[in-house]
């Protein structure tokens, strides 16, 4: 792909359609990361931010929905039978995730997730990437059920947190740096967790968003409502000249011509910068372009 020419055409196209703000996604991601870890006020940890941001990070101001769901599963071990179901099920956390995914689908993955931003930056080091085999993209649903819900309930241990590379980065590194008394706790498990992190960091250079595409249980939750969310993306086959620009640019490593609105789309809207205006976004109630085919992936 002639990157320079394509970007220029995309820029002109976006400027014409009034979507200049799309070029600020990188800054939105950086701002979101800084706000989530700014330590303005600790009481906000009661609010679960709809992104993968470890609440054990010294600067984290919001709660982690996956951590909260695992703790709920662990608590259910001791309270099941004593309390009504609506007091045991983490309705508040689930409700927050449902509301965000109903309105935005997976856009949180593409716009505010700090780990997603890190994956975008590392993927930018190479121009060619391997594709994730389609069956592997369903692994995240199994991880959601197994490591976030069932195994924590059965074992009383938050197993997804124990293996989470974002926790290894934000909590595993920053706690020992800012809280020296925790350094004595560095042991063999810290090294295992760091090995998982390093494995993903290397993979991020060769595969676009490998963590989002295969492992992230939060992305799995958002995926469930993505195709029905308020935001829609339309592909107009008549305008497409198969230049592959969108395939090359897609941060999720999918083919937007057939997979926009699918469970693998992260709603970043990068593909809507299409030099030929073949891909456009709209709100659900806005009329679709006449020639648009709604791709379900």
């Amino acid at each position: 792909m002639a990157a320079g020419g394509g970007e220029k055409r995309a820029s002109e196209s976006a400027a014409l359609t009034g979507s200049r703000w799309l070029y600020r996604r990188n800054w939105v991601q950086i701002a979101a990361m800084l706000v989530m870890n700014s330590y303005f006020f600790a009481w906000a940890k009661g609010f679960c931010v709809p992104a993968l941001n470890c609440w054990a990070c010294p600067g984290a101001i919001f709660g982690c929905p996956l951590g909260a769901m695992q703790n709920s599963s662990i608590s259910a071990r001791w309270t099941i039978g004593d309390k009504p179901w609506y007091a045991i099920v983490p309705l508040y956390v689930i409700g927050v995730l449902i509301v965000f995914s109903a309105v935005f689908g997976r856009m949180m993955c593409g716009w505010i997730c700090p780990f997603g931003w890190l994956q975008d930056k590392l993927a930018a080091l190479r121009s060619k990437h391997w594709r994730i085999p389609k069956p592997l993209r369903y692994l995240r649903y199994a991880i959601l059920v197994a490591l976030v819900l069932v195994i924590p309930y059965l074992t009383g241990v938050a197993w997804f947190c124990k293996l989470c590379p974002q926790g290894a980065l934000e909590g595993g590194w920053l706690q020992p740096i800012f809280n020296p008394e925790t350094r004595v706790l560095i042991g063999s498990f810290w090294w295992i967790k760091q090995a998982i992190l390093v494995g993903f960091l290397v993979l991020m250079v060769f595969v676009k968003r490998p963590f989002c595409g295969t492992v992230c249980p939060l992305g799995a939750i958002f995926s469930l409502l993505h195709r029905h969310s308020l935001w829609r993306i339309d592909f107009e086959a008549d305008k497409c000249v198969n230049c592959m620009w969108c395939v090359q640019e897609c941060p999720a490593g999918i083919d937007p011509r057939t997979e926009v609105n699918s469970h693998d789309c992260i709603g970043c809207l990068e593909c809507t910068k299409c030099p030929h205006d073949a891909i456009q976004s709209r709100l659900m109630w806005a009329p679709a372009p006449a020639e648009a085919q709604v791709t379900e992936g």
């Binding site: 009661g46 703790n71 449902i98 706790l185 659900m284």
Partner: protein, 45 residues
């Protein structure tokens, strides 16, 4: 029908939040958030 799924989901989500908050789940999540789980971040054995 598909175009109303997000509305139904949003209403269900808001109802779930209201019930959860009514049972003090904000305070529960806040308590978890303010307790540093060292073993969760690899510190410990």
């Amino acid at each position: 029908m598909n175009r109303y799924v997000w509305t139904i989901a949003a209403v269900v989500g808001i109802a779930a939040i209201a019930v959860g908050l009514g049972h003090g789940q904000w305070a529960v999540v806040l308590r978890w958030g303010q307790t540093l789980c060292t073993s969760c971040i690899g510190l410990g054995h």
